[in-house]
Amino acid sequence: MNGARRVAYVNARLVDPASGLDAMGGLLTEDDRIADFGPGLFGIGLLPDGPPADAPADAEVVDCRGHILAPGLVDMRARIGEPGEEHKETIASASLAAAAGGVTALACRPDTNPPIDSEPGLEFIARKARHVKRVKIFPYGCVTRGAAGKDITEMGLLAEAGAVAFTDGNRAVADSLVMYRALSYATTHGLLVVQHPEEPRLADGGVMNAGEIATRLGLPGIPRQAEVMMIERDLRLVELTGARYHVAHVSTADSVDVIRAAKARGLSVTCDTAPPYFALTEVDVGDYRTFAKLHPPLRGEMDRRAIVAGLADGTIDVIASDHDPQDQDVKRLPFAQAEPGVVGLETLLVLSLELYHKGHLDLLDLLARLTCRPADLLGLPLGRLEVGGPADLLLFDPDAPGRIDVNAFVSKSKNSPFDGRPVMGRVLRTVVDGRTVFPFGAG
């Protein structure tokens, strides 16, 4: 039909968390759009003898063999190395890692060097991403100029130029007056402000969670209260301004409690966490393992359980990869000197699936935190199966056994504390705008 490129995905278990669909069926893409999908489309049944008769004759046929075809993952926060740290990651390598992890769209942190606090910065990211053309990359803009925490950026103009939301990345907007003005100003344009929740003075000098393990290791600790007190302060400012406020990488039980209560009061607050915070604890620091150094730090077992409970009851809206590539040079150091950060794009899905396999969340609910929820928060028309919507798809087998192997990572950096961890789940195919971007070379 007039040269459109059509792909028929047959024998798929269609799972769309936005609509609650979970049924065997098929899906047809036409160029970069979903043209049709539904239970029973193209017939059901495995194909010993080729495609079913009712698949369009001119379509390429992908036999999904009963595996799950879902919207591609939308990763709410990743660091992609550019500009400034191209030796750790580039937009090209981060895009490969995202594709390998089933992530079809990601939002990148603006606390780069230089920080993304102006239109040229946003255009730089957009141009590079267009050139790489693998997954969709959406930049955050800084809340404050230079992410220095003093003067607010041209948030309105930056939003028009493509900033999906505003954050100073892993630097908290610490000054109450600056945060108040930022939240207040953000309401002019209905913008989302994302906070790194840590009171920096209380955390000053700390390198891991304060407690018995830090004390034994002789490492300066960060009290877990540093997180919740920043959130509590901000919630007062949200009450005052009515702004849309989102807490990044929640890691403590108290934070979950406070956010749960704020939601019950009707405040416009949302939050996310990242796999290390529900899959690991401070015990994993072990004998000064710098790969287990992250920011915020890994917490105790009670906190980890509270994060799982917060995900299960919906207090925590989103799971982000928190992808933070660091090279050997900044990790092979004494713990206090090492950079924090864990690569996460390639392990986001398999680690999140642990929550499903352990029975904490059902599959639709889990996938919602990885697809339509983050897309909605960022105002992106992504993360759902919709006729006429973008053909960003993820085909995966949730039960395939495997083991995380950092040497197989395509990210430029291999800093993962999960190396060797047995997992269940495998990304089989990642599709962006109708093109297969993973497995590599298949599109």
Binding site: T215, R216, L217, R332, L333, P334, F335, A336, Q337
Partner: protein, 319 residues
């Protein structure tokens, strides 16, 4: 780490001495027994043996030290080893050479023992993973200083006869102290009762989980104490950051005759040195020849370090 079960009684079961945590009571006793022998030898006119003849010991100090470095140097020389001191200033670290680079460079010269002090916790352990010889931790950040705890234990054992059942008060900057951590581990392993006394600003989080009784009142901590260990308080922590003033600190946490009266009449006074007289300890107490064993500690330091060097090299000597 190698298990100790199959080793003869005079063999130390570890390649390195990185900390007290993880050692057994038997291993500590072996170190102390071996050191006992060297105490006598160090009092002879001829102090030298050839247990480490032909061996090379490098003292690698990333942090300034006179006392500990001298003690290790003497220990190595009295055992007949070639001892070399290397001080790595923090400026060359800033030039980009990492702990691992330094370790690999020195390893290429085949030292038998590296004695390492570093301002960062865990740095000595990191370095030990990259060298073939034995590594002795001479202090890593606020983590451990195992030979200090061993020399303290030897001092107590020679004076009192045993460690088990003693009430030991450790007072002062527990938060930043590697000496405190190593002593807490050692004394617990050997069956002593450990109390720590400090204002909460100088106590690490969850310190009670290390097996100590926590006091914020030194006077109460001193009741029935057999041993009082005073820790050094760094000057930069005295003026409003961790404690309000030297004057206030001494008033509540400085050891003087008045407070000492609350301890057992024959209680011993210890200090790892160098002392801040009038800050954590009164001169009258520090110089009390009947009760202060501060100079004994210095003497025991050489013997303990000889024992550590001996046992760590003896291990591969006989393989």
């Amino acid at each position: 780490m190698i298990g100790t079960a199959a080793l003869p009684a005079n063999r130390f079961g570890h390649r390195h001495l990185l900390g007290i945590e993880g050692l057994s009571a038997g291993e500590i006793a072996l170190l102390l027994d071996t050191a006992d022998g060297y105490v006598e030898q160090n009092r002879q006119p001829d102090k030298k043996v050839d247990a480490l003849r032909g061996r090379t010991v490098i003292n690698l100090f990333f942090e300034a030290s006179t006392r500990t470095r001298t003690s290790f140097e003497l220990a190595a020389k009295r055992l007949g080893a070639d001892a070399i001191n290397m001080s790595v200033s923090t400026s060359s670290i800033r030039k980009g050479e990492t702990v691992i680079d330094t370790a690999m460079t020195l390893n290429a010269m085949h030292p038998d023992v590296l004695v390492v002090r570093h301002p960062d916790a865990g740095a000595v352990s990191l370095l030990s993973q990259k060298v073939e010889g034995a590594v002795i931790n001479a202090g890593d950040g606020s983590h451990e200083h195992p030979t200090q705890a061993l020399l303290d234990a030897l001092t107590i054992r020679r004076r009192v006869g045993l460690l088990e059942g003693l009430i030991v008060v450790i007072c002062g900057d527990i938060l930043h102290s590697r000496v405190a951590r190593s002593n807490i581990h050692l004394l617990n392993i050997m069956g002593a009762r450990v109390r720590v006394a400090a204002p909460p600003t100088l106590l690490p989080a969850a310190v009670d989980r290390l097996g100590v009784e926590v006091f914020t009142d030194l006077r109460r901590a001193l009741a029935d104490a057999d041993i009082v260990m005073m820790l050094r308080l760094q000057r930069e922590r005295m003026h409003g950051s961790f404690v309000p003033s030297t004057r206030e600190y001494f008033h509540f946490f400085g050891l003087d005759q008045d407070k000492l009266r609350l301890a057992k009449p024959n209680a011993l006074i210890m200090h790892p040195g160098p002392m801040n007289r009038g800050v954590e300890i009164d001169s009258e107490v520090a110089d009390d020849i009947y009760r202060s064993v501060i100079l004994d500690q210095v003497e025991m330091g050489v013997a303990v370090r000889m024992a550590c060097l001996d046992l760590l090299t003896r291990r591969d000597n006989r393989q």
